[in-house]
Symmetry: C2
Subunit: 308 residues, 2 copies
C-alpha cells in the first residue's frame, strides 16, 4: 500500500508511474486543495483535476493541465460579455466543476465528490483531498498585496516576487476522514516531486498531518522537484529562494528532513548527494525527469526500491 503526497502535474506523472508498478487499489493520493478556488460560482480543484485527467489519459499533453480535445465555447462567450477569462476553463472541464459544485451544494463532502468524479473518469486510485474544509494558499507579494494562489500562479504567471506564503483556513481545518489512516497504514509514503512550498506545504499545514508523517519518517521517500537548482515547471525554485531556502536538492532535503527519511535526486545533482545526507536524509541518485511514461515508471520503481 502506497500513500502519495500530491500536488498537480509532477504528482500526476509520479502517480502514473506508480500505476505501472502496483495495482490502482494499492495507491492513495493525498492531494493539495490549497489551489482550490471559486470562480464564476464554480468550485475548481486544479490539483485534484490534474491528477484525475492525467491518470484517465485525458490530460492535454501540451499544457499539462486541462483536457485534450477541449472546446472553449463558454470562455469565448464570457470574453464577449467582458467576464473573467484569464483562468481558462474548457467546456468539458467546466462540466467537472459544475458536478463538483452542485454536489457540494447538496451537502456532499469534497472527499465524496472526488471519489465520485474519479469513478466517473475511470481512475482507480483513491484520491483524498487533504481536507474537506476550506484551505486557501495566499501569497504576499513584495510589490503588491496578498493574493490568492490562482491570482499569483495564473493571472500574474508567477512572475512576481513573494515575501510570505500562508494557508488560509489551515489552523481550523481537519484532515479529510481517511487521510491520517492512509498515512499511518501505508507501507510507503511517497512525496511526489511537487512544489514544496505551495503544493506540499498546504498538506503539512493541516493540523495532524505533519505529526502523522513524522511517525512514518523511515518509510517516507521523496522525489526532489528541484533539478540542478531549478524547477522543471512552475515557481518552486524561486519561491524557495524568496522564502530564504536554498533552491537545490539540499534545500529540499532540509525542508523535508523532519519527516522524510529518503530523498531521490536527479543524476545531474549526484555531486550533492553527500550534502543531502549531511541533512540527515538518505539520498538516492536516479534519473528523475518524467518526460515519458516509461521514465515515470522507472522513477516509481526507484522510489519503491529506495524504501526497501
Amino acid at each position: 500500500m502506497i500513500t502519495a503526497l500530491a500536488g498537480g502535474v509532477g504528482a500526476a506523472r509520479m502517480l502514473g508511474g506508480l500505476l505501472g508498478a502496483v495495482p490502482p487499489g494499492d495507491i492513495t493520493a493525498v492531494v493539495n486543495t490549497g489551489d482550490d478556488t471559486v470562480l464564476h460560482g464554480l468550485h475548481i480543484s486544479p490539483d485534484l483535476d490534474t491528477v484525475m485527467y492525467t491518470l484517465a489519459g485525458a490530460i492535454n499533453p501540451e499544457t499539462g493541465w486541462g483536457l485534450a480535445g477541449e472546446t472553449w465555447q463558454v470562455m469565448e462567450s464570457l470574453g464577449r460579455l467582458g467576464g473573467i477569462t484569464w483562468f481558462s476553463l474548457g467546456d468539458k472541464d467546466i462540466a467537472t466543476h459544475c458536478y463538483r459544485t452542485q454536489r457540494l451544494s447538496e451537502g456532499a463532502s469534497l472527499t465524496e465528490v472526488t471519489a465520485e468524479l474519479f469513478r466517473a473518469w475511470g481512475v482507480g486510485i483513491r484520491a483524498l483531498p487533504v481536507t474537506d474544509d476550506a484551505l486557501r494558499t495566499r501569497l504576499q507579494l513584495v510589490d503588491g498585496p496578498e493574493v490568492a494562489f490562482q491570482e499569483y500562479f495564473v493571472h500574474l504567471r508567477h512572475q512576481v516576487a513573494v515575501s510570505a506564503v500562508r494557508f488560509d483556513g489551515a489552523p481550523a481545518a481537519t484532515p479529510g476522514p481517511e487521510v491520517l489512516a492512509a498515512i499511518a497504514e501505508a507501507d510507503t509514503i511517497v512525496v511526489c516531486p511537487s512544489n514544496p512550498v505551495v503544493s506540499i506545504g498546504p498538506l503539512l499545514a493541516v493540523p495532524g498531518v505533519l505529526e502523522a508523517l513524522a511517525r512514518r519518517r523511515e518509510d517516507t521517500v521523496g522525489v526532489s522537484p528541484i533539478i540542478a537548482g531549478a524547477a522543471l515547471k512552475g515557481p518552486a525554485d524561486r519561491l524557495l529562494r524568496e522564502l530564504g531556502w536554498e533552491s537545490s536538492v539540499v534545500g529540499v532535503a532540509r525542508w523535508y528532513a523532519p519527516w522524510m527519511g529518503t530523498l531521490v535526486i536527479d543524476e545531474s545533482d549526484a555531486d550533492l548527494a553527500p550534502a543531502v545526507e549531511a541533512e540527515g536524509v538518505r539520498c538516492v541518485v536516479a534519473p528523475t525527469v518524467m518526460s515519458t511514461p516509461e521514465r515515470s515508471a522507472g522513477l516509481a520503481r526507484t522510489v519503491l526500491d529506495a524504501r526497501a
Copy 2:
C-alpha cells in the same frame, strides 16, 4: 415612457413589439426573478435571459428559450459524469450565468449585473429585476412535496397538479432600487401576456409593488395570456384553475382588476368582452397572438392606443 411587467417568452415578444413603437430608452421592463435558481453553483435568471436573448435577436426561435446556434459541450460532459442535465444549459448560455454569478459574488447587485449583461448583448431597454433579494416561486404539488419552480416547470414539465403557490423570500424582499419609480413615473404600465400566477404573481408579492401599481390603475393596460380559455404556452390556464380561478379572459380580468384599468383580449374571446367589463376592467378586443414580429408590433400599438 413605458414600464412593462414581464415574465419570459410572452413578455419578450411583447417588448419586441413595443420596440417597434417607441425608442428602447423609453422602455423599462420590471422582470420576474421568482424563476431564478442556483444550479451547479450558477445563478440562473431564466426570465431576464429570455427577454435579453429575444431582444438581442439571439433567442432560439424553435424553443423560445436559450440561444440560437448553441453548442452543448458542458451538458454532454456533465451527463457522462452523472450530473444533473434535465435543466439544459447551452455553452454560450452558461457564459451568461458565469458572468452573473461572478459579479454577484463580487458584491454587485442583480440590478447592476443585469444592466451590464443587457449592455453587453446590445439590448437598449432598461431591464429591472423586480428585487435584488432572493425571491423563489415554490409550488405545492397535489400528489407530492412542495417543489421549486424549475423542478415543476422543467423537470416535471408542469404535468402535475398544484394546490398552492408561494413566493419564498417575498415578505422580506424590497423592490429593486429603480422599480417603484419606474412604476410611478411611466406614462403607461403594460402588463405583458405572461403567466399571471408564476410570472406576474412574484412581482406583486414584493412589498410595495402592488401598492405602486394600484396608484397607476388607469394607466395600466394588460394583455391576456389566456386565449379561448387556454395558454398559448406553459401552464397558466391549468394553474389558474387549480388555484380556483376561471381560466378565461374573465378570470384574468378578475385577477388583475384591483390594479389594472384595461385588458386587451384576443378576437376569439370577443364575446367575453362584456363579462370582462363587468369585472370593472375596460376591455379592448384585438389580435393578440404574437406569432410574427409584425403581429407583436401591431399588438404593441393596440396596447399603447388602449390607454390613450
